[in-house]
Each structure stands twice: as C-alpha cells, then as structure tokens.
Symmetry: C2
C-alpha cells in the first residue's frame, strides 16, 4: 500500500527492482525520497549497491541487492531424538549444517543449551562473526502458541509446556510446530508456484501443514493442521493417547503400525522399524503401510473437498516407503473426493526430504527478518 | 507495496486517510503526485472532495471520500425457486431490494432476463441512471469456475452447465456459488473482525464457505467448501446423488430429513417442511434435526482440527430451527475436536439471515470494483 523502506527492500529482494531508477518508476516516490530510504537500508547493512558497471553511454547504473555477506539465520529442527541445524544466509543459501542425536525429554535448558553451542560453532565454521546472527527459527514436535513461542501441552515434550523458548536466546526467535516449518520448507524449496499446499507428515504421529495463497495457515489458536485426531471409519476399538478412539494416528501412524506388526509376531518398535521391514520385503509390513495409506487417504478425501489444494506432499519417516503409502492414499482420495476437486490435484512424496524442517525453520526466520514491518523497525531504531 | 491511484482510493475508503495531506504523509509521495492521482480519481467519479470547511486558522482542509451518489452495484441471490436482488451503493448501503419466485430450471436466458429487468427497475426506484450500475455479483446454487463465471456441472441447475453468465450483461459480473457469497455477506456484515470463519449452509444440501484471514478461500479449482460429500461414519446404506454413499448431505441435508420423516409416516417434501414440523412441536422431526446436527458436527469436528476457525456460523433454511441443530453440532464438535482448537471457538446461528447471499454478492461486486487493480485500470483507460 505504501512505499516504506521495508517495501522497497521487499521489491528488491523479490527481484522486482534492481536500481534506484527502477524504484522511482515503480513507486512514484520522488528520487530524493528513494535515495534517502535506500541509503538508510545500506547503512543498516540490509542492502548493498554495486560499483558502477560498464555502460554503452551515459552514467552507468549501480545495482542494488540484498546484503548477505555479514549476516546469517539459523533454522533448527528439534525432533524427539534429533537436532538438525542449518545456518543460512538471508538469500536462503545454506552455509553450514549439523545433526546430532538429542533427547527432547531432557527438557528445554539442556536442549536449548545444545542448540546455542551448535549455532555458535556453525557461525565460526562459516566464517561469520557471532553478532552476524539476525534471527532463528525453531520447529518443535508439538503444538506451539506462535505469538509467544510457548509449547502448548505438547504430549511428547515433557518439561516444555509453556516454556518461553525465545527468551532463552539473545536473538529474535520464531517457534512453530515441526509440520508447519516442513510445509514452509517444502513450499519455498520445491513448490514456490503452488498456491494451496497440504504437507502431510506421516511419522510416529500424523500432522499437516497448510499453505494457503502461499502463506502458512495457522488458524485461530495456531493449531490448524492437527489431522492426527480426526476420526476414521470403523476403528472404534483403537484407543488414542488423546483420550478419544479411532483417531487417524492411532490406526495409521508409525507407532500404531509397529504395534500391530508386533501383535502379528513381527518385532517392530517404531515407524523406522516398519520402514526397514518394508524395505526388506516383509509382505505383512507392506500390507499394513498400504492400508494405513488408505485410512490417511479417507481423511484427506474430506479435506480435499473442503480445502481444494493444488498439491498434497507426503513427508515424514513413513514417506521413505512412499510407493506403498501413496498407492493407498491415492486410491482413497480418488474414490471419495469430488471430481472437480481432484481434477488438477497432485499427490506427491516430499522432495525436500529430511532437510524440510531445518530449511523451513530458517526460511521462517528470514521472512520475519526481511518483512517490511521488521525492516522499518530496524531503520527507525537506527535513526 | 506501491502507491498507485487504486492504493490511494483504498486508503481513503478504509478510513486511513481523509485529506491530500494525509496521503502525502502516509505514502511519502510528492504532493504534486498525490494531487495528480486524486484529480484523476475525482474525474473518474470514484472520489469526491468536500468544500472547504470552517477552520481555526490557515487554509481549511478539504475532505476526500468515496463517491457514492451516482453509482450502484447489484447483489443477486439465485436459488432453485427464488431470486433476491439488493441494489447497493459503493459504501455497501442497500438502496432498494426485491424478491421474486423463479424456477432456476427454466435455464439461464429466462432467469437472467428476469434479473436484468429487475435491476433496471431497482435503479429507477432508487433514482439512479441506468448507466450508474458499476458491477454485479451473482450467487448461484452450484459449483462455479470463478474466473470465467461458468457453472461447472451444477446438479440442480439444468441447462446452466458452462453457460458464461457474465456475457449476458453489459456490466462487469462476478459469479460465485451461493455459500461463498453468504460467507462473505456474513463476514462483512456481522463478523468483520473475525480472521477465520466457516459459514455452513444447511438447506436441501450442505455446503461451506471459508474465510481465511478475512478473504474467501476458493481453493485451486474454486471448489473449496464442498463438505456435503464428506463421508460420515456408519451410514454406508445411504446412497447420494453424487454416486457415493454415506455423504453428509445424503444423511443430514433437508431433503434427506424430509424423506426419512416420510418413511416414518409423517408427510414432508423439503427442508422447509421439516422446519415447519419442528416449529409445530413434532418430536420425531426434532429428534431427526438434532441427530442431523450431530452428524454435521462430526464432520465439522475434523474440519475444526484441520482449519482451526474462530467462528462457525450456521445458515440455510434448517438454521431456522437452530436451537435443535446447534445442540447436536456443538455436542459432536466438543466431543471430537482437540481442546486447543475449540478453546476460543464460537458456533453461532447466522446473523445476516436470508439476506446474506444477496448482500454478499453485492459486496463481492463492490470489492472487485474498488480493488486497486480495477481502479488503476479505470484511471488508465480514462487517460
């Protein structure tokens, strides 16, 4: 609507303008106003301007671009047993990354101290100063109140309930649930031109990240996408940890499949064990994964009618055997969804794979840092 | 992002600016640029500027506002057996309205000729010239490709499939399905401050309009919100006109309830008959409506987990007995949805009532006409 310094930076970083003259033309601002705003952005280290390049005549134009040399963000993917961190520049390039085993149930102080040390190490590895860190995005395996960064009764994160994660760090920290950051990572890295995306994570549990018109849809309380507890038909015998029965993840999540295999006399403790059995050719495991796909597909069929997405991407550990999982999902969706809604629908395995969450968390940090509101705040605080 | 004439108009009509000086301050544009753009908007009849008012000193400011005297839009609600039209000014005030019985199955030429005559009559009634009509919004009882205004295999609109409705008229016409325009009408008239709204119409069939971040979510093919064909538990015996079985509207829509009452020996042909029976104290009809509410609530419980709305508004003919319907809906939603998602959730009867569709269709037309893209097009074409 207006042409604040933040708006000008957004125009440049989106590739819509590369010179001061472009900005004058695009915005209708006076040249002096553009110059004043661009100078402020350069002074704050957000933009840089090239030396004059060769030209066929007249004064050669100097090109503006996002300054990426002296800054960085960290994208942190916290799982129940792993911590993956990507250090990225503001253009989204990965500078360094690391993965460690952790135990989320050791609680926030232990886990966040580890994150802090690792980010410091990655900054050194990438040759950036400690003060170069502009923001951090963290994906956690449970519900989060996005506005405060506090986990909200997370069932598999003992000790984390209402812990104010951002306050632990010296930098700006955005916290979201893992499926939301995975959806963002998948969208920005592999599906930028898709308007409406559902990213379904099939791991121990089942969750969904929603992208509508290119932006994450978090809903009223930030709990949107919690599809693991939608009721499926004909499984009222299956109790769920949430207290209800017949929840999708209680019959089709990795943990549920491992339990059913064990009941059949085949040892499995986790979704990863089920995946290994499928990969080794165990037909019972294959049958269960395909059946899980059908149940997930039944729930997705309703959501396809409701939301009408362009693409459904399937990620999470169970997606490693996506040929079996997707067969079941597609079968159920095409049987139960309306033809108009499935007409242009693609159901695909996640392309971003294990990095989706860390990359998505980094992108969350970048998009916050470069948002016009934040940029204007930075410029104003410098003045 | 930029400060085009359309952006300036939007600032004024949203109440963010009332004088040229406001606009200079807000946008950073040169005063001469603002003046040039405002003059163009006034010349196009989009803005008007008050005479100078009294002032305590100096040159008194002149106030800018949307020009509403010489223009109008029409909002048209086409049902299977009714046509309701509201003539509105660009500020959303209703100038005149009319309702007639029609038969949608007489086909587009007959029905649209009726609309054309009625709009002409309403313009005369409101004392506006024929040429004052700027745009028209039409809600129809079936799926529509929004971009072209063509119904897409509408099951209860014989003869309308792929008929290019906008081409029938001399003005700009936006066509959407009835539930979307009802959701928009309800949102703009009664729930402006709600970010995420589901408007559920329970009539002969069942459908849903989705408002996300204040805007209609139409989805990839424009079919979002088609919840009438989501499968409900334990009703596989109920065949649906879509070819599947156990669809929500095949067990809980007004037509389905009338049929079940008839099977019980109580005569009913339509949802309106069921409503009349409930209002006359028929206990079988009350029981069926409450049970229908539970089934609708079961589907909504899943959608609440998925979408996390602030408000669910229930409209359509069956909502006239909302005390019975909402009791069932609330029971099922609170039993099956996650606590975080129902924490701040309101489930309420529609406040806009029978006018929601016509008002919403008019608002669709206004918002299109005043969109920065359209305003800039108008200004450019005048230049």
């Amino acid at each position: 609507m207006t042409s604040t310094p933040g708006d000008l930076l957004a125009l440049i970083s989106a590739g819509g303008a590369t010179t001061r003259s472009d900005l004058v033309k695009l915005t209708g601002l006076a040249r002096s106003t553009v110059s004043q705003r661009i100078d402020a952005l350069i002074e704050r280290g957000l933009l840089e301007e090239s030396e004059a390049t060769e030209s066929t005549g007249g004064r050669p134009p100097r090109h503006l671009r996002l300054a990426t040399e002296d800054s960085a963000v960290a994208g942190v993917d916290l799982g129940v047993t792993h911590c993956r961190i990507a250090l990225m520049d503001l253009a989204g390039q990965v500078l360094a990354c690391v993965e460690d085993p952790i135990r989320i149930d050791e609680g926030p102080e232990v886990v966040l101290a580890h994150v802090d040390r690792r980010v410091e190490g990655l900054l050194a590895e990438a040759g950036r100063a400690k003060g170069a860190l502009r923001a951090m995005g963290i994906g956690v395996p449970g519900p989060v109140e996005f506005a405060t960064g506090q986990p909200n009764n997370p069932p598999i994160m003992p000790g984390w309930n209402e812990y104010p994660i951002p306050e632990y760090f010296d930098t700006t920290v955005l916290v979201d649930n893992d499926v939301n950051v995975m959806a963002l990572g998948e969208h920005r890295n592999a599906l930028q031109n898709v308007d409406h995306l559902l990213f379904v994570k099939v791991g121990s549990g089942i969750g969904c990240g929603i992208v509508a018109e290119g932006r994450l849809h978090r809903g009223a309380q930030g709990s949107a996408g919690d599809i693991g507890h939608i009721r499926v038909n004909g499984h009222d015998e299956a109790g769920c940890r949430c207290g209800n029965s017949a929840c999708l993840e209680a019959v089709a999540g990795g943990t549920a499949l491992a339990r059913r295999l064990t009941e059949l006399g085949i040892h499995a403790e986790s979704g990863a064990d089920v995946v290994a059995l499928v990969q080794s050719g165990n037909t019972q495991a294959m049958r269960l994964v395909r059946e899980a796909g059908r149940l997930i597909g039944e729930v997705l069929a309703g959501l396809v009618n409701f939301f009408n997405p362009d693409v459904i991407a399937i990620g999470g550990v169970m997606a490693r055997v996506h040929e079996h999982l997707l067969a079941g999902i597609r079968e159920a969706v095409y049987r139960r969804s309306l033809p108009l809604a499935t007409h242009g629908l693609s159901i695909v395995p996640s392309r971003t794979g294990v990095d989706a969450a860390a990359l998505g968390a980094g992108i969350l940090a970048i998009e916050h840092h470069l948002s016009p509101e934040n940029v204007n705040r930075l410029v104003a605080s410098a003045g």
